[in-house]
């Protein structure tokens, strides 16, 4: 177990370093010089050179990378060339909002998928179970932003029950925070829940055919009792894999949903950074997203080991 964890941890550290190099190299290869961008087309070469020196972009790339990456490790994302404000705190604030959005969406997806998928598997031979799998197929075909727009239309515009967008920090007004996030959570969660339902269904179906479930029933457990005690943990192994992939998808989905609901998350920050040509900011946000995905993979791997003794 410890060895397995150490190995996974080493993989996490190594892949973070590789990701750092990749993100830095990619941004460095993009055309455009921060100093030229900051000063505009009419700047004198001397002024540009002076600004480059101040930004540090006149130094060799390797030393720039060392500075940037060294800063990252200490949580310092540098200072924006465009707004001259430190990037770290901005990313920190936004990351919190996006994390709440994504995790809330995931929770809703799980709340839908685990009962619905299990039910559909247990009743796979009768009409109700078949209806659930058919409904999840429809759900899968709907993109998250469309679900968002539909939800806004129904709950905000028609029923006027929920705000159609905007974000209130929880410290300011917890109730408004919750109401504001409800539709974004739903639009992420419903679609992911539909996708996940299918995986839960097939995982539970597979497990239901396992011999050890029959053994459990031979011991005197009922069908559902056997499934509950011996099936769900086994079924959760493939589901965790999908969950990890989905979290990554949700991060991307959040970028769009943040736009639809005017939520100041990372996606919003990223789009602003791109629009404002704030290279260092974009670089920081992309790095954070990549590390988030790597961390999710790490957590998935650790979860496997916790669930499955064969991996320890």
């Amino acid at each position: 177990m410890i060895l397995y964890l150490l190995k996974r941890l080493a993989v996490l550290v190594a892949s973070t370093a590789v990701a750092g190099v990749a993100v830095f190299a990619f941004m460095a290869l993009l055309p455009g010089d921060p100093a030229e961008i900051a000063l505009g087309v009419n700047a004198t070469p001397e002024a540009v050179a002076a600004l480059r020196e101040r930004f540090g972009t006149d130094r060799p790339p390797l030393s720039q990378f060392a500075d940037w990456f060294g800063g990252l490790i200490q949580g310092d994302f540098g200072t924006s060339y465009v707004t001259s404000s430190p990037i770290g705190p901005q990313i920190g604030d936004r990351l919190g909002v996006t994390a709440v959005l994504v995790l809330g969406g995931m929770v809703i997806a799980l709340l839908i998928a685990v009962p619905a998928g299990t039910f559909a598997a247990v009743h796979h031979r009768n009409p109700l179970g078949v209806t659930i799998s058919a409904a999840s197929q429809v759900g899968i075909a709907i993109p998250a932003f469309l679900a968002g727009i539909l939800l806004v239309f129904v709950f905000a515009v028609k029923a006027q029950a929920l705000p159609s967008g905007g974000y209130v920090p929880i410290a300011e007004d917890p109730r408004a925070w919750l109401l504001g996030l409800l539709l974004p959570w739903l639009s992420l969660g419903l679609v992911q829940g539909a996708v996940l339902t299918r995986y839960v269904r097939s995982a539970v179906l597979d497990v239901m055919r396992e011999d050890y479930l029959r053994t459990a029933r031979a011991k005197g457990r009922g069908r559902m009792g056997a499934l509950w005690r011996h099936g769900l943990r086994n079924a959760s192994i493939p589901v965790v894999t999908v969950l990890g992939l989905q979290l990554a998808t949700l991060l991307v989905g959040a970028v769009v949903v943040e736009r639809v609901f005017v939520i100041p998350g990372l996606g919003d920050l990223l789009l602003n950074g791109v629009a404002g040509r704030d290279l260092l900011l974009v670089q920081g946000v992309v790095m954070v997203l990549v590390v988030a995905v790597l961390l999710i993979n790490f957590v998935v791997d650790v979860t496997y080991a916790v669930l499955d003794p064969r991996l320890r």
Binding site: R125, E210, D211, Y212, R214, T215, A216, R217, A218, K219, G220, R221, G222, R223, R229, H230, R233, N234, L307, D308, P309, R310
Partner: protein, 304 residues
């Protein structure tokens, strides 16, 4: 103790087991033999109420006073693992890979009313009783850390935990190597209460059982005391089976039964063995009944 009458198993329109009847007296050890696909497992599973989905049993099977066939799951469930237990054909997959072996043995006892602590302690004791080495340590391991033979013993420990009146073993040794097989058989013979023992190894039935049922095409074609049936088989299928095994005196070994077992639902009407039987006649197009006291057989032209 166990009394089976007209047990029929169907998957949709296909009849997989037909009108099987037999009794097992308390403490009696009965073998069920026949080639692959003759319906042995389905017969056993219908007694446990554990038939695969889409497969249904009809007829009656009584264990003491309790009906086993056609009763709702809720009523069968407290019999299973307590009055009647089963060791399945596949040892490698019959245990939950994510649960410690000891807990899986203890479970069958807590399910039937023992306290957790008592069940844990007795689980270790049972693992020792099925001759597993260092039972305390073994109880804490996971199935993948055990060999096939060890897992099958764990299954046997589970089956015996509540001292059931009837033990069903479905080819418990087929997947094991020869030495392990021998130990396992000795163990079963030693600990088993009344036993229904499924195998296609004739030497094994001869060693373990007192009486034998020969199954082919979903029917019992011959039954009786082992000695009589093996010394003087009457049904032509039994005759063929015995001839193909090593049990006949050296030098008189006959060729194996020609052809192969048809797929489910593809058996001929009348005598199910008629398309492979060298003695088949016109008469065999009508189904022969299983007749005879003690040693019974269903054949129009029995061997003598």
């Amino acid at each position: 103790m166990l009394s089976v009458e007209g047990l029929t198993v169907r998957a949709d329109a296909v009849e997989l087991v037909r009108e099987v009847s037999f009794d097992i007296a308390p403490g009696e050890r009965v073998g069920l033999i026949g080639e692959s696909g003759s319906g042995k497992s389905l017969t056993a599973l219908s007694l446990m109420g554990l038939l695969p989905e889409g497969v249904r049993a009809s007829g009656t099977a009584r264990l003491g006073e309790r009906e086993l066939v056609g009763v709702p799951e809720g009523r069968l469930k407290d019999l299973r693992g307590r009055e009647v237990s089963m060791v399945f054909q596949e040892p490698m997959t019959a245990l939950n890979p994510l649960m410690r072996v000891g807990a899986q043995v203890a479970e069958v006892m807590t399910l039937h009313g023992r306290s957790r602590a008592e069940a844990r302690a007795r689980a270790v004791e049972l693992l020792g009783r099925v001759r597993l080495p260092r039972p305390e340590q073994l109880a804490r391991s996971y199935p993948h850390q055990l060999s096939g033979g060890q897992r099958q013993r764990v299954m046997l420990a589970i089956a015996l935990a509540n001292e059931p009146g009837l033990l069903i073993c479905d080819e418990p040794t087929t997947a094991l190597d020869v030495t392990v097989q021998k130990q396992m058989l000795e163990l079963i013979a030693e600990v088993a209460p009344a036993l229904l023992f499924i195998t296609h190894d004739l030497a094994v039935v001869a060693a373990v059982c007192e009486r034998v049922l020969v199954m082919y095409g979903g029917r019992v074609v011959e039954s009786g005391p082992i000695r009589e049936v093996f010394a003087r088989p009457r049904h032509r299928y039994t005759e063929g089976l015995l001839a193909a095994s090593k049990l006949t005196p050296r030098g008189t070994r006959l060729p194996t039964i020609k052809g192969s077992v048809p797929a489910a639902g593809r058996f001929p009407d009348g005598c199910v063995f008629r398309n492979r039987c060298p003695y088949a006649s016109e008469k065999c197009q009508t189904e022969p009944a299983l007749t005879g006291d003690g040693h019974a057989y269903a054949c129009w032209h029995p061997a003598d």
